[in-house]
């Protein structure tokens, strides 16, 4: 049951996404009727909006038709009616009573508002979602609008919906907060709060309000950051609606807490969310960006760590680029950004000659940015040559450094192998394992230090590795000697014991043989003398307890 509903939500999410990200929504090939209805409504509103606040309709016939729909409501609620007329609902021929109930054919307010006539009036905030859902969850009613009908379902499972419907906290957003009430406009109307370019400001109405957000410990600077971000500037300054707005990453009706595993901005889902746009070649070409970046990241060391091995400490897109204020880090900031996690490396890199080199872009110059390969000494042969020619002294120095490092690592591996092999002998390897661990530690420590490009660092490491191997070899040698001695003693003991056993066995057999002969002899004698065979054990007769 639960699974089904989740599937349902996911499906509808992706459907919704498809709709919202498609540059031109109206290019849906099917359902011609709703298409015209949809496109007619906004154009109507736009034109009326363009003419400013006005009751003068373009078409008097339509005006009359609208007023007829309003019935007696417009007599008292003229202001609402005026606003409503311009809204997507008003222009679509929906009457007041369709939502609020009551009777618009009577003139007396009490009668028109009578509960017996199904009057609902103004719903409380908590009741708003169900109020809207009456129509918007009704597939039949929505059939010729082309609108989806799963918003209410999505909303019920969203963070906002749970706050409002389950916890009864009506401060969280309901339909009207984003869509408006009587003034609801189609999201394609540039004046609509849900128009792509307006959505960030719409969200900011609540999310920029410190007083409101404090209760949830949610920061309020997202809109400010977004405005300065690449995405925000594209939308607001270049009027490019394809750049990301709040809902593209967070979802719309189905927004959940970023720590929720279902969230599109959960640390493990971020990459997928960004990829939705950033792998789109056509879109990226427009912004002069490469569409290969997501694939590069996935193939890189961070992508493998996060997505394949599930190491959540590994960075996703936003850890380097920021989230709301997403920007590519500048040249000067690269080392800083990487240094947030790779602190020691940054520290040592700042001491290296590259730090001062002109035009050197920091970490990414050798390690690349998205498709970061497992670092190793190979970097010194391939990365250096990108700037230093193969026969230059700098290149040679790099290679020498790498060689020293490699040799030391090999030495340490040898030491570890010796210990591992010797572990099978059953001796306590604690001390030797500690020595190997020391080597491992030294390796972990030398890697950041090598960012200084100082050959002495590598030399020190190599020296330590050699010492460790020597210590380990001595220890293992001692163990082997002990084993040999034990095996030797075992051999000798076995030989001696086998000797004794052999001699004793020989002796026993001979005793038996003699006794049998003797017994036979005695039997023969006894038989001739007519006596029973005597008890042979004579020694017992003096001391018997019995």
């Amino acid at each position: 049951m639960k699974l089904v509903s989740q599937h349902h939500i996911l499906l509808s999410c992706s459907l919704l996404m498809a709709f919202s990200t498609a540059p031109v929504l109206a290019s849906q090939p099917e359902k011609p009727a709703p298409k015209t209805a949809l496109s007619a409504a906004p154009s109507n509103s736009v034109s009326s909006a363009a003419k400013g606040p006005s009751t003068t309709a373009a078409d008097p016939a339509a005006e009359a038709k609208f007023l007829a729909k309003m019935g007696s409501c417009a007599e008292c609620h003229a202001d609402n009616a005026t606003i409503f007329q311009k809204s997507v609902h008003g222009s679509d021929g929906i009457a007041c009573v369709d939502c609020h109930g009551g009777d618009s054919s009577v003139e007396v307010a009490e009668e028109a508002h009578a509960a017996t006539k199904g009057f609902v009036g103004k719903p409380s905030r908590r009741d708003v979602p169900a109020f809207c859902a009456k129509c918007h969850s009704d597939a039949k009613r929505m059939a010729n609008t082309g609108l989806p009908t799963d918003q209410y379902e999505q909303y019920k499972n969203s963070f906002h919906g749970k706050k409002v419907l389950v916890e009864g906290d009506s401060n969280a957003a309901v339909c009207t907060d984003c869509h408006g009430t009587h003034d609801i406009l189609s999201k394609k109307n540039p004046l609509a709060r849900t128009y792509r370019a307006n959505i960030p400001a719409t969200c900011d109405r609540c999310h920029g309000d410190d007083a409101k957000m404090n209760a949830y410990a949610i920061p309020t600077d997202q809109f400010k950051k977004w405005k300065q971000s690449f995405h925000g500037r594209a939308v607001l300054e270049k009027h490019d609606l394809s750049a990301a707005i709040c809902t593209d990453c967070h979802g719309k009706h189905d927004i959940v807490n970023p720590e929720d595993a279902h969230s599109r901005v959960h640390h493990l889902s971020i990459v997928k969310t960004c990829t939705r746009c950033h792998a789109d070649a056509e879109l990226m070409k427009r912004h002069n960006l490469s569409a290969a970046i997501p694939a590069d990241y996935v193939a890189g060391i961070h992508g493998i760590a996060l997505l394949k091995r599930g190491i959540t400490a590994a960075p996703a897109c936003t850890n380097c680029h920021g989230n709301h204020g997403a920007l590519p880090p500048g040249v000067k900031q690269v080392a800083m950004v990487c240094g947030r996690c790779h602190m020691r490396s940054e520290e040592f890199y700042n001491k290296s000659p590259h730090r001062q080199a002109k035009g050197f872009r920091g970490c990414i110059e050798c390690h690349r940015n998205h498709r970061i390969a497992e670092p190793g000494s190979w970097l010194f042969s391939s990365a250096c040559e990108r700037c230093h020619p193969g026969d230059s002294p700098a290149s040679a120095r790099g290679k020498a450094l790498a060689e020293t490092f490699d040799r030391a690592v090999f030495t340490l591996e040898q030491a570890a192998k010796e210990v591992k092999d010797a572990a099978g002998y059953g001796f306590s390897m604690e001390k030797l394992e500690a020595v190997v661990e020391e080597g491992r530690q030294a390796r972990v420590e030398v890697v950041p230090a090598l960012h200084t490009l100082d050959p002495r660092e590598a030399d020190r490491f190599a020296e330590k590795a050699t010492d460790i191997l020597k210590t380990v070899q001595q220890g293992v040698q001692q163990i082997r000697i002990r084993i040999l001695m034990r095996a030797g003693s075992l051999g000798m003991v076995l030989i001696v014991i086998m000797g004794i056993v052999f001699v004793f066995k020989l002796k026993i057999d001979r005793l038996h043989h003699e006794e049998e002969e003797e017994a036979a002899l005695r039997a023969a004698n006894g038989a001739s003398a007519g006596e029973p065979p005597a008890e042979p054990a004579a020694a017992d007769k003096t001391n018997g307890l019995s």
């Binding site: 306590s428 076995l494 056993v501 004793f504 017994a519 042979p536």
Partner: protein, 393 residues
């Protein structure tokens, strides 16, 4: 007939023999020592005793081994939780020949229990416990229990992870008994938990109390055996007798030397590992009791939580302890006169059934919660010893 009778003495030998004879005469005149030894050595035994009759001597040898190595270990061992593990590690790694002494003690203990089982099996098989030897059989059962207690108390002393947790589980089991359970556990542990107090108790039992009991029982066992003489093979009661020395002694010696060889091979080839130091916070994988308690441990697992008004565990404990009761009662249950197998079919089938049960429970106890690889197939056995998951190569 004795050892020296067979030697052609040389001049040097003659001098030595004369000195020995003088010493022997001196001791004989005062404490009749030679007569005593002579009495023990000349015990008449049936000439056709087989090798199974040397198992008692093997047990005696292993007991001697335990005593000597145990005394040696006590010189360096410290019965306190802050020092127990370290001192055992010190013995194992730094004291000259310490590894040998410790391994001889550890393996010796296991071989001793094994030898005891075989010895008892021999007595059972030949019905040697029948009148008038019932009491000696009872003493033997007592020795078995004492030896098992030796094993249980000694296992904790190295204070490594396995010994700690096996002892924790082991002392927990009687806790299920009604009324006295919790008292028993507290008494065994010297408190609520396994602590230094437990080590102190176990050490005292292991090095003072039990040796006294076992030596006393062994003395009685041997004295009574000498009094009755060794039982003949069933149906061959009237076979020719030979003196205990040298005939049987040599046979005993061969068995003992072979045991020593096995012991030494085990000590060198497969030494007992000292695991990490006991940690009350981390339970290692696969905590199981020593092999000789495995059958009991496994048996209790098959009982449901509750049987009628009693807890299943209690029923399991009582039933498994019943095996020792059966052993003790063997002379009563096997009441007939005859010692031949065909005269005791009923009892022997019962004994075999119990034996098979114990053996299969031991096997189940060994394989449960373990991956067993055989011919490239790995089978995982669940807690009750049923195969659970089979993985190919």
């Amino acid at each position: 007939m004795s050892y020296l009778d067979l030697v052609q003495p040389t001049a040097g030998d003659r001098l030595a023999v004369r000195a020995l004879k003088a010493t022997a005469r001196f001791l004989e005149d005062r404490i009749r020592l030679v007569s005593l030894v002579d009495f023990l050595a000349s015990k008449p035994v049936p000439h056709d005793l087989n090798w199974a009759y040397t198992l008692g001597s093997v047990c005696l040898f292993l007991l001697a081994n335990q005593i000597v190595t145990g005394v040696l270990l006590a010189l360096y061992y410290r019965p306190a939780i802050s020092e127990a593990y370290e001192s055992v590690r010190h013995i194992e790694e730094e004291v000259t020949c310490g590894w040998l002494v410790r391994q001889l003690h550890a393996w010796g203990a296991n071989l001793m229990i094994l030898a005891l089982c075989f010895h008892m099996a021999r007595v059972l098989w030949y019905g040697s416990y029948k009148k008038p030897r019932e009491i000696n059989w009872l003493i033997g059962v007592g020795l078995l229990l004492a030896t098992l207690t030796f094993g249980f108390t000694g296992y904790l002393l190295p204070w490594d992870q396995l010994s700690y947790w096996a002892s924790k589980v082991g002392t927990e089991i009687p806790g299920a008994l009604p009324v006295i359970g919790s008292v028993l556990v507290k008494v065994m542990r010297g408190g609520e938990e396994i602590t230094g107090a437990t080590v102190g108790r176990f050490y005292t039992l292991h090095t003072l109390v039990l040796p006294g009991i076992v030596l006393g029982l062994v003395f009685l066992h041997l004295a009574i055996m000498r009094y009755h003489g060794i039982t003949a093979l069933p149906g061959k009661e009237h076979s020719r007798k030979v003196p205990f020395f040298p005939h049987h002694v040599m046979k005993d010696a061969i068995s003992i030397y072979l045991t020593l060889a096995v012991l030494y091979v085990l000590v060198v080839v497969s030494p007992w590992k000292l695991h990490e130091k006991a940690d009350a916070l981390v339970t290692p994988e696969g905590v199981k009791p020593e092999w000789y308690f495995l059958w009991m441990y496994q048996f209790i697992k098959y009982f449901p939580q509750q049987i009628g008004f009693m807890s299943g565990k209690v029923v399991g404990i009582v039933l498994s302890s019943g095996v020792f009761g059966l052993l003790a009662l063997a002379p009563v249950l096997d009441f007939g006169e005859g010692r031949l197998i065909q005269q005791r079919k009923l009892f022997m089938s019962l004994a075999l059934a119990v034996l098979l049960g114990v053996l299969s429970l031991t096997v189940l106890g060994y394989i449960c919660e373990r991956d067993i690889s055989l011919l490239g197939t790995t089978i995982h056995f669940d807690i009750k010893g049923f195969p659970e998951k089979v993985t190919g190569k």
